[in-house]
Amino acid sequence: MTLLDRRQVVKRLLEPRSALLVVAGLGAPAWDITAAGDHPLNFPMWGGMGGALATGLGLALAQPTRRVLVVTGDGELLMGLNSLATIGVVQPANLAITVLDNEVYGETGKQKTHTGFGVDLSAVASACGFKNSSIITHESELTSLKKEVDGSGLIFAQVKVDLKSDELVLPPRDGPLLKNRFREALLGDRCHFSN
């Protein structure tokens, strides 16, 4: 089986860019969304491992009329697995989660993660109450995934990707800059003047 290319997957999800608000877990997912084109409504994380899903949940609750996409990795998700249960209780209809699952900790020397030993994240999501939870292994499935990501309903997609290391495409590292440009693009200049 030929595994998917993570950069191609993310590019397919973000091009053309809909009104998505995008949160990316630290490491490769943050580089992946940046490689698809830096955007003020991207929030690439540089830390807080295990926090991508909860960050996406907070954003989805604060902006119920906007679609939120979390792009993260298997290692990052495993560290915050409990957030699948939390999200399963809240059932936010405007949140899409895609896990780029290469079954290794890519940044630290490709040590196998739990998914490499058969832990099934999409089954965990189903058990936590995600009615739309799937494993994506083939390029032909990306068109419908893009539609679902841009559409509505709570979704979880575990996308099996290859081990290839891509060129580093780094987003800005300055936290206040990432936060302020996101808020300004979403809320307008007024966000700087009132709380």
Partner: protein, 173 residues
Amino acid sequence: MSLENHWSNTVFDLICKQDISIVSFVPDAGLSQLIELCVAHEGIQTVRLASEEEGVALAMGTWLGGKKSLLLMQSSGVGNCINMFSMLTSCQVPLPMLVTMRGDWGEFNPWQVPMGQGSEHVMKEMGVTTFRAKKNDEVAECTEGAIRLAFNTYRPTAVLIDQRVLGAKTFGR
């Protein structure tokens, strides 16, 4: 103490007045009344967390989305948040927190003491500004200051509510 005079009522009024619309929590006996008030209020979205650190990351997202949130937890949960606090301090994100103390005055359970004694230290080390409420009427006063400081100056803040306010859990001993 009668329910009417309980600090939860004043703190709940502050939450509404300060336009905090998302309250996340891992329960504690001392927080149960405030949690009930928040859950019952239509204007507040409550999120029950499986682990306290989720509430820290959640606050990152709510602030990106233009909404204010508050996190409620017991002092043992502070340890679960340590790395996640780095996100708030690195991005200058406001989050007021209410922390009910264990492992302090009158504690019965020895296993609660290390984290209870360490809570304020580790919060300070991670850039959280802390206040201690040692009496019932100090809770609302500290909370108002902590909420204002958080949202006016873009930082995590915490009120640690002493076991002298809450009553120590005795397991009937």
